[in-house]
Symmetry: C2
């Protein structure tokens, strides 16, 4: 088994650098505990890169990423760069090219309510007792956001705006395999989302998913219409393990599921290419208002590093250990300001104290 990995580390803007520092501590501890090595190359991205190199994704950064096994990404953006044209801003100027250059066709969005944090959800305790753990697998480079033709034709009050939703067999098959592989390693339940009663794209989608399912007899497959899924997430989120979604439906449902956890700042995400390359980043934003104060929650960045271990390094044991260390810290009552509720047994801690506590849990596990 491979023991050395090259990582591109892109801290970015806002709270990015300080939460990335905690993820680095955790990777140091993983090196020590699991006898592996992460050779890390730091690179500029986002607003920091605009200020220094004139664009959000400098060529040097791309080269470092190309020489790596995976990218650990912080977060980008802030009011300083909001007046730039949209395509030059940190968010679009960095993330869209990275997706394109590296062929990141698959977005993994876990929506996890840790048992210790059920009170943060806007759902009633009885609906989420014990927490839930949903993985949304979203197709990221096809579907209605990218297919052609799209545009506005006609003039005056006689215009017609149009977009094309489309998927090919090959596009559906590769995302479906990622979802089945993930389900096989988790709760072995896959719900594929479509609208096959009205969309031809969904008819094809459902057929391919059914066909691929023959290779995964150990995973229970079902199909659900997207509108029903939007309801079922609210009514009974614990019924779900893995949700497989076309691009737009995944965009909507992953956000709904994330919000149902009540702690968006806790959630990691992964964008995967074919093979093992991937980019890992917190689902939340750069939170410039609290940057540099050592109060941000580093958990999303640490859990992003755990996803990197799992999906790009094949280190499932190390990923499990990091996730368990985070869960133990939360169960012990440690809380950064965003999740502190002043309840019995809670202790308000800083960014670095939370990172240190995760490292301590990991080492002693």
């Amino acid at each position: 088994m491979k023991k050395e990995f090259k990582l591109a580390v892109l801290p970015g803007d806002g709270i990015g650098p300080e939460i990335m520092a905690e993820a680095m501590k955790v990777l140091d501890a993983v090196e020590q505990k699991f006898q592996v090595r992460f050779e890390r190359q730091f690179a500029n991205v986002g607003g920091a890169a605009i200020d220094r190199d004139g664009k959000a994704l400098p060529d040097a950064t791309v080269e470092i990423c190309q020489a790596s096994d995976a990218i650990l990404f912080g977060s980008v953006g802030g009011p300083k760069w909001d007046t730039l044209p949209a395509e030059e801003r940190p968010e679009r100027g960095a993330l869209l090219p990275l997706r394109r250059i590296f062929g990141l066709f698959c977005n993994l969005r876990p929506a996890i309510v840790f048992p210790a944090l059920t009170s943060a959800s806007s759902l009633k305790e009885e609906v989420i007792a014990g927490g839930f753990d949903i993985l949304v697998v979203r197709e990221l480079t096809g579907g209605i956001y990218f297919a052609q033709p799209k545009g506005v034709e006609g003039e005056g009050g006689e215009r017609r705006g149009f977009d094309t939703m489309a998927y090919t067999d090959a596009e559906v098959e590769r995302i479906t395999r990622v979802a089945f592989d993930a389900a096989r390693k988790r709760g072995k339940k896959l719900v594929s989302i479509d609208k096959a009663n009205v969309l031809s794209t969904s008819v094809l989608w459902r057929e391919v998913v059914e066909r691929v399912s023959a290779d995964y007899p150990d995973v229970v497959l079902s199909h659900m219409y997207v509108d029903n899924a939007a309801m079922q997430l609210v009514k009974a989120p614990k019924q779900f393990d893995v949700l497989l979604c076309p691009n737009m439906f995944g965009d909507i449902l992953s956000d709904e599921a994330a919000m149902l956890t009540g702690s968006l700042g806790m959630l990691p995400s992964a964008s995967l290419a074919e093979g093992s390359f991937g980019m890992y980043e917190p689902a939340g934003g750069s939170a410039p208002d609290i940057a540099g104060k050592n109060i941000a929650n580093p958990v999303a960045q640490i859990l992003s590093a755990a996803m990197l271990l799992r999906y790009s390094c094949g280190l499932a044991d190390a990923a499990d250990a990091v996730e368990k260390a985070v869960e133990n810290c939360l169960a012990a009552g440690l809380r950064t300001g965003d999740i502190y509720q002043d309840a019995d047994g809670e202790q308000l801690v800083s960014t670095s104290a939370m990172g240190d506590a995760v490292v301590a849990e990991l080492i002693k596990s």
Copy 2:
């Protein structure tokens, strides 16, 4: 002001006939209290029509509807007809042709949590304290469910499924006016839903909504991406008054909002044509398992009748009075089985007792 209205009454299957009977009592009381007259023609629809006339929407029923000012629809479908081809079944065989024949381009889906029923929601009490009242205005005959071309091209493993999302200026403008008119009579807040950062259809949609808004300076307009709306509904549903949605986004968000109320069986809906013609029906199903037992909840059917009074008859006072009578009955603790929680002050009542109570409240108001 018009004093006489012709109504086509289509009770349908399952619980349809018995909840329709309660709505009829309420219309009788409205006649008495507001000096109006509803000339009612009953007609077969759904499974009942299949059994008697061989199809879900007999010509005689269409003729009765065409001679009416509005349709009050019960509910259709049941296991007896589930083996028929999809397009002949009660649901598609009746509802789709009715939409087409009468040009029902606008779907109104209220999502209301009555203050007395906040405990039915899966959301925490503090999120929905005092209840909420959202009206989803969904475009019903355009967008990606209907635009052409759509299909599957290619063969073997090289196929491509595709659908077209499209809207014209005229289509957006007429649904936008319905939404602004409704908002003007309610909380004067309109949120238009789109995905204008990636969809050309949404760019056109947003431009038209902005243009129409000039005619409604008293209504506060804002725009929200569909994925953010899916989150905001969960996080803070009370922020919303009227949501204006393209067809598919409305399909998803209206179901999510309805489920957030926790009492789907309480919700009415309306499908409107240009002018004042409309069809009104409960948002829930025909519930064949409890049909004929006098235990079904008639509130959705009664509130559908209230929407008919409001939108097709222009009888806003009568509509308000019916809605207030329902609210009073719930506040007094009356509960059919579906919403009975055995809490202090609750009284379990039958279908007909609930209808009688609404009538009594209405008469004394």
